[in-house]
């Protein structure tokens, strides 16, 4: 049903540590791999080997350059997938009831048999978490690997979303964010985890941990270009390298 559940027994979600993420895109790749044969399979690609490939992805990594007076300039890799909001607008706008939020664990899912592909849910989501599958004519989205986290046929340690189990840096954590005694809840408390776009009032379950402040002597030095003139830029670099090698 398109109304949101009045209570949630659990709030399963992800915590993404922006201090650790190295932007390798492994989480996005493994997400695609698992899900293209899972609950929402297949995740279609259009023109995959052509000049203009597009396709369905549930997880994407954006990279931002952040400049501040204290920390100088730094690069922040920013993975983004469905945040499984407590007050999910994508659920209430759905005209057919295909989009729903589960009472037992808070996961937001789409019923592929009743979705009419009107795309209104994608318009209502501030985070761009919904993916329209052109070939299938229906909306798809991150399922928090619902077919993996409860799967009794795989070892217990693997029963976490694909993006979490594959992250080589350990930047992603999974757990019940509604349980104050859980490790993941404590992690968010300890590191001042925050919501994305709180002004949209979606009450996202997933939290982001901010990059730690870098307090070394070099961090506050902004990089300056060695020349304004593009034509002599290469010569200047050549000079610097030659001097250094002497």
């Amino acid at each position: 049903m398109t109304t949101l559940p009045t209570k949630q027994n659990k709030k399963l979600g992800l915590v993404i540590d922006l201090d650790i993420c190295v932007g390798c895109h492994a989480c996005a790749v493994n997400c695609k791999e698992w899900n293209t044969s899972g609950h929402s399979s297949p995740l279609h690609d259009i023109d995959p080997y052509g000049d203009d490939p597009t396709g369905v992805w549930f997880n994407r990594i954006h990279t931002f350059e952040v400049e501040s007076e204290i920390n100088g300039s730094k690069t922040v890799h920013f993975p983004k997938s469905c945040l499984h909001c407590s007050d999910a607008p994508c659920v209430t706008v759905c005209p057919t009831g295909a989009s729903y939020k589960r009472e037992e664990d808070g996961i937001v899912l789409v019923n592929p048999d009743t979705c009419i592909g009107c795309k209104l849910c994608s318009w209502s989501c501030p985070y761009g978490a919904r993916e329209y599958d052109e070939e299938a004519g229906i909306m798809k989205k991150c399922t928090l690997c619902v077919d993996k986290i409860y799967n009794e046929n795989i070892p217990k340690a693997d029963r976490v979303p694909a993006c979490v189990s594959t992250c080589p840096a350990g930047a992603r954590s999974f757990g019940d964010l509604g349980d104050e005694n859980s490790d993941i809840f404590k992690l968010v408390e300890e590191r001042n985890g925050y919501d994305l776009m709180p002004e949209q009032d979606c009450a996202p379950t997933n939290k982001y941990l901010p990059p730690r402040e870098k307090n070394n002597q070099f961090s506050s030095n902004k990089l300056e270009s060695i020349t304004q003139d593009k034509e002599i830029a290469f010569d200047s670099w050549k000079e610097i390298i030659e001097n250094a090698s002497k």
Binding site: F64, W123, C125
Partner: protein, 313 residues
């Protein structure tokens, strides 16, 4: 936002059809609308074709049009569902009104007003569907729903006014009504354009949470190419082009019809030329309205663009 052709056609076409009924409802209040049978038939066919063509077109953008009936179920929470339901329910009194009106049965008047009320409800639901989307600040605006209403009313009354040249029927009462609704439509659009040029709700800072006074820029997008989000939600139009299109709308939909309606009594031209010119006034006004709806979509920024290089929306 991506300006979907089927949705733009739907709003203009169905809106005009509903507007014709609202206009007839107004006429029924102030005068007798028991026109000649040919006139009735003309108005019945025109309004029915406008409404049905629009509604059919609206299903074209669906991934699964054959499942459209499922959208009647979630009226408790979804404006889109309410819109679909209201649009279908409207057909019931509409058809009864058509029959009774054509057969000169006095009861048509009740069904006409009932139909008009349902038309207004349908338009209200359409407007609310857009106006309740917080993610698109240009639409999350108190003027959006009234603009859907005034667009329908002014296009409907202009259609009836123009059609009156083909089968002579009394539309003196419509003279002021049409001019007033067209003028109001223009003023509401001017205010709307002013508001959307000022309003911002979210920034790249709030979208990423990477500090308040930090300067954030997108260093690298998630793909080298486009994706669903960039094609559906991130569309841009040059300011000069948008201003030109706004001017086109203003002239085609508002100024030209008002000028023609006011100048008509002083025009000394052949009747055929007059008919033809009012036919073109209507066509131009409809084109102007299509342009205005196109701008409504293409100029609306979605907050997801903050993850793709935009700094504030």
């Amino acid at each position: 936002m991506h300006p979907s052709k089927s949705i733009i056609f739907f709003t203009v076409s169905s809106g005009t059809g509903y507007g014709i009924l609202l206009c007839l409802s107004y006429l029924a209040f102030v005068t007798d609308i028991n026109f000649d049978n040919n006139v009735k038939l003309l108005l019945i066919i025109t309004s029915f074709v406008f409404i049905s063509a629009g509604l059919l077109s609206s299903t074209l953008h669906l991934g699964h049009p054959e499942r459209a009936w499922r959208s009647f179920s979630q009226w408790k929470s979804s404006w889109l569902s309410r819109e679909g339901l209201a649009a279908v329910i409207t057909f019931l009194p509409l058809i009864i009104f058509y029959l009774l009106w054509y057969l000169d049965n006095f009861f048509y008047i009740y069904f006409l007003h009932l139909t008009s009320a349902l038309c207004l409800i349908t338009i209200y639901c359409t407007g609310q569907m857009y106006a309740t989307l917080k993610t698109i600040p240009a639409w999350n605006n108190k003027l959006v729903t009234p603009i859907y209403g005034i667009n329908a009313i002014c296009m409907g009354s202009l259609t009836v006014y123009c059609l009156s040249h083909f089968h002579e029927f009394e539309v003196n009462y419509l003279y002021n009504f049409t001019i007033a609704s067209l003028t109001l439509c223009l003023f509401m659009k001017l205010i709307y354009w002013y508001i959307i040029s000022k309003k911002t709700t979210s920034t790249a800072n709030s979208a990423t949470g990477l500090g308040r006074d930090n300067n954030i820029s997108l260093f690298e997008g998630p793909h080298t190419g486009k994706n669903f989000l960039t094609t559906e939600m991130i569309n841009k139009i040059k300011k000069e082009k948008a201003n030109f299109l706004r001017l086109c709308f203003t002239i085609l939909t508002c100024i030209l019809p008002i000028y023609m309606i006011i100048q008509e009594p002083s025009l000394i031209i052949d009747v055929f030329i007059l008919k033809l010119s009012f036919f073109f006034v209507l066509i131009f006004a409809l084109v102007g309205m299509l342009i205005e709806r196109y701008l409504f979509f293409i100029q609306a920024k979605h907050v997801v663009s903050l993850y793709y290089g935009e700094n504030k929306v």
